[in-house]
């Protein structure tokens, strides 16, 4: 909202420069976002928070200026006319359908006006706060809207049919052309002002085109009313209309000030247009009920952490327009002015005192926080996991939780169970992701485009899905994606390492080992082309190469990509944090390698399991230490080398003890798998 320095000076004797005032107001909670020098005046752009509708007026801001500069407001309400002399209330029918929708309505009929341009001082005042001057009637209503915060509307009386004003809900599909020339289609959620025949204004939001005051207008009906904020808000939102009037009604207008504003308006219009008020009719006028809140200075001190002198507390509240009486040794009985509907509880008064007193004068203390002992949480596990993964050379990425449905489709993610956004910004962010892989693929594509030779990334975040339960489900997941060739320049030359699924397996094994997970395995599902990650017989995730279709969708071309995705909740459930020391072996181990040629389709795991199943006592470790496919090996075959590690806890083994064991290994290879030992 805009307000000017000179307009404020109509109400307060300001003795500080505009920029100083900016700081004072901002530090009291009335944020001044901009200060602009303009034709001998200063325009303040202020941010009015939704709890302070009273600040949506020059007088409201002036009240605050008075409080922060220690001055008194210059005007008093009694200087404005209290009563209308000549008006009568016959000859107009006023019908209010619901007191809930429209608690107050004052109609003033002013006849014999001469509609013309406003005087320059009025034009300038309005223009400085961003309001275009229209004519002397409309300008008066706008002037009072800005000065008092009370929106008003003037109708051309001759255009109102049947001598009637009715405030009612719109009929279903009732139409109204508003002042901006747009035809609005209304329904029973909208509140309208109607004459005897049809709607003539969208109550509190915008007037109607048909009945607006124009240069030919002689007689007017001036509306000063208060409408239900919620109705105004809904209509304004549904029809997408922003108006100064709606903005104020939505935040609530002080209905006990409306009559005084109506009288000011009438007097002002009479002065400017030469008209005479001949009739006034109102609905819902009432005197305000006195409202009080008690404030205990002890509570205030306990709550803020500092004591403030009772005199000071009283002065602050009085400067803000509260009436303050003493009600005990420690407390005040505070009468709340009608424009402060936001002040309901003692805490509201404490806030008022604190912000004017100055937050900066309240000391800083350190709360005596009672530490809560927390057990190891998923967050701790996740943090540990991330540290392991970066040690394995993976970079952490953060990708959007909202993804493109088409990408999921391209990846073959079933569309059932997906959670769609009702109001997405675009189709690209239309679905909550059930899988983290789409985001990682987009990251891969971006980085490959930047000529990265290889990309190794992971994300540990949530996947979302509908499991048929009433509430949507979230699951913490881990996804890893690898692509490209990592090379190592060693003294003996360049070693190239094409990243793939076995790298993912190796990383997982390291993770399992660090988390004390032993009973795991990997089983290939050849039909799906995916590898299942199993812990204690439970499938916790998959390792696979995304299909070409998916890679095409993110424009990864001619590259092999390997990905892994698993449920971290299932993984963390298997963590074994107990670590038991195993005594170090005293006697040296002896390693024997055996190289052989075997049919290509025989899996390494099968071979190792067959040897293990023979339970050779001295054989402590068994691993594939080399593999080769190439020119020297016949097609359909591969060469493997197995390293066998023999060890005894009691003595150094001799060749004689190892030979029989090694013979069993060779026998398994040649008899079970028809391998040719090399």
């Amino acid at each position: 909202m805009k307000v000017t320095y000179n307009w404020l000076k109509d109400f307060v004797d300001i003795r500080v420069a505009a920029d100083v005032l900016v700081d004072k107001l901002t530090m009291a909670g009335l944020t001044v976002e901009g200060l602009e020098k303009h034709s001998g005046d200063f325009i303040f752009e202020i941010e009015v928070t939704s709890n302070r509708p009273d600040w949506l007026s020059v007088i409201g801001v002036a009240r605050e200026v008075a409080a922060v500069t220690g001055k008194k407001l210059k005007f008093s309400k009694s200087s404005f006319p209290r009563k209308l002399k000549s008006a009568v209330s016959k000859g107009l029918t006023l019908e209010i359908e619901s007191k809930f929708d429209c608690p107050l309505y004052i109609a003033s009929v002013i006849t014999g006006n001469s509609v013309q341009a406003s005087p320059d001082w009025l034009k300038k005042k309005l223009e400085l706060v961003g309001c275009r001057s229209i004519n002397n009637i409309v300008d008066v209503t706008n002037f009072l809207l800005f000065e008092e915060g009370q929106p008003m509307h003037a109708f051309d009386l001759e255009k109102l049919r049947g001598g009637k004003i009715e405030v009612r809900r719109a009929r279903q599909n009732e139409k109204l052309v508003t002042i901006d020339g747009v035809e609005r289609l209304l329904n029973s959620e909208d509140l309208v002002i109607a004459d005897a025949e049809k709607a003539v204004a969208l109550a509190g939001v915008m007037g109607g085109k048909d009945t607006e005051v124009s240069s030919g207008t002689k007689n007017i009906l001036l509306e000063t009313a208060v409408f239900n904020p919620m109705l105004i808000r809904r209509t304004r939102q549904r029809l997408g209309i922003g108006s100064e009037a709606a903005y104020r009604f939505e935040r609530s207008v002080d209905r006990y000030n409306s009559k005084a504003v109506a009288l000011r308006a009438v007097k002002f219009i009479e002065e400017l247009s030469g008209g005479v008020c001949v009739l006034e009719k109102s609905f819902g006028e009432s005197a305000p009920k006195k409202r009080t809140v008690t404030l205990s200075c002890g509570h205030l001190e306990g709550f803020l952490g500092t004591g403030i002198a009772q005199d000071k507390i009283k002065n602050i509240l009085v400067s803000l327009g509260f009436k303050v009486g003493k009600n005990s040794r420690d407390g005040f009985l505070v009468e709340i002015p009608t424009y402060r509907q936001d002040v309901l509880k003692e805490i509201d008064l404490i806030e008022e005192v604190a912000r004017i007193y100055g937050f900066e004068k309240i000391p800083s203390t350190l709360a005596a926080i009672q530490p809560q002992v927390s057990i190891y949480t998923i967050r701790d596990f996740t943090s540990e996991l991330k540290n392991i993964l970066i040690g394995l050379g993976l970079n952490e990425v953060v990708t959007y939780s909202l993804v493109d449905k088409r990408l999921l489709e391209g990846l073959g993610v079933p569309s059932s169970g997906q959670l769609e956004i009702l109001n997405p910004l675009s189709q690209e962010q239309g679905v909550l992701r059930p899988s983290l892989i789409p985001g990682l693929l987009k990251c891969l594509a971006h980085n490959l485009n930047q000529q990265q030779e290889y990309v190794k990334i992971f994300e540990a975040a949530k996947g979302y899905f509908d499991s048929g339960k009433p509430e949507p489900q979230e699951e913490l997941r881990l996804a890893v994606a690898l692509c490209g060739v990592q090379s190592w320049l060693l003294p003996q030359g360049l070693i190239k390492d094409e990243l793939g699924m076995l790298h993912l397996k190796g990383m997982l094994e390291e993770v399992f080992s660090r988390f004390g997970i032993k009973d795991y395995g990997f089983s290939s599902d050849l039909s799906e082309g995916k590898i299942k990650i199993m812990i204690k017989g439970e499938n916790i995730g998959l390792i696979y190469n995304p299909q070409k279709k998916a890679l095409d969708f993110v424009e990864i071309k001619n590259k092999q990509v390997a990905v892994l995705e698993l449920s971290l909740e299932k993984l963390f459930a298997q963590i074994c944090r107990e670590k038991k020391f195993v005594a170090l072996e005293k006697y040296p181990a002896i390693s024997r390698d055996v190289s052989f040629v075997i049919k290509e389709e025989v899996l390494a795991e099968e071979v190792l399991n067959a040897i293990r199943s023979r339970n050779i006592v001295l054989l402590k470790e068994l691993k594939i230490s080399d593999s080769y496919k190439g020119k020297q090996i016949a097609p359909g075959f591969k060469a493997l080398t197995i390293s066998c590690l023999y060890r005894s806890p009691e003595r150094t083994l001799t060749e004689e003890e190892i030979s029989p064991a090694q013979a069993i290994v060779c026998a398994v290879l040649s008899e079970r798998f028809a391998a040719k030992i090399r």
């Binding site: 530090m27 909670g29 939704s50 904020p229 808000r233 809904r234 935040r251 306990g302 709550f303 803020l304 500092t306 509880k345 805490i347 509201d348 806030e351 604190a354 912000r355 937050f359 900066e360 309240i362 000391p363 800083s364 203390t365 350190l366 709360a367 005596a368 926080i369 009672q370 809560q372 927390s374 991330k386 540290n387 970066i390 040690g391 993976l394 970079n395 952490e396 990425v397 953060v398 990708t399 959007y400 939780s401 909202l402 959670l419 956004i421 009702l422 997405p424 909550l432 990251c443 971006h446 980085n447 930047q450 990265q452 990309v455 992971f458 949530k462 979302y464 979230e474 320049l489 060693l490």
Partner: protein
Amino acid sequence: MPGVDIDSIKAAAGQEINSASSLEELEQLRVKYLGRKGVLSDLTGMIPGLAKEDRAAFGQQANALKNLLTSLFAEKQASLGQGTPLAGEAMPDIGMPGIVQDLGRLHPITQTINEICAIFIRMGFIVVEGPEVETEYNNFTGLNIPLDHPSRDAFDTFYLKPKDNYSERFLLRSQTSPVQIRQMKAAKPPLALVAPGRVYRPDAVDASHSFMFHQIEGVVVDKGIRFSDLKGILEVLAKNLFGKDVRTRFRPHFFPFTEPSAEVDVSCIICNGKGCSVCGRKGWLEVLGSGMIHPNVFENVGYDPKVFTGFAFGMGVERIAMLKFGINDIRLFCENDLRFLKQF
């Protein structure tokens, strides 16, 4: 022993080593005795040709000689006064790239969250998390934000498509504050916690806006928690995060869930408060929202506001990371360019 006198080799070698006068000379001797085609290598080469019963004894002698000569060479090398390595381990060309495992990095958002959480953990806070898909109650009503009220305008929100007309409405949390409601409903005071996480708002993406970003929420509730405690704790945070010389400023503001509410500014870390383009010439940077928890919120979670008081605060992680690292575009965080990630 056939034709070889190990003792005389030992004696000759000992003398030659002893009289060597330079490292070069010593190196030549080392090659002569211990090199690949040296005397010792010849000796071991003889073993297979020996009678079976002599092999072991000869082998042991040759080995003993090798050990002796190795230590003589080492002593002599040391006495020649320089610890230069022997040839074969020649000095590398140190201009060549070092050989190292390529370690990964944590995302700058994770690093920032970790840093902030660590500050609070040191003060006795615990770290918790909450769901991102939330109810209207936890995101709005419970936090004293009525459904049809202008105070909701600050919180544009993504909603999920309802399964049918009768099902409850779910939304993506527009702030981390719903964690307050969940934690307070789940436990009785005292409470001191921080809750980091993703939040969502339907803002069009540009250099300073994103529809998804991160916040950290903090809550302290106990008997006798004061506004001065809020100031103290957040000053500790600011100094830890931005440096011990940073100044803080508490500006009254309005949030529906706290009263009094304060926005917290720190003196601009770029210009030290003098005024620059980053702080919009103000000298101050807004980094936190905070306030004393509103009694209505306490009532909503079943705490007695006459017994307990507390404060809450929230901050945008991207905003803090951008200030700390000098990042000028919020989109970089979710683009995940390795050239960006490798800088932190």
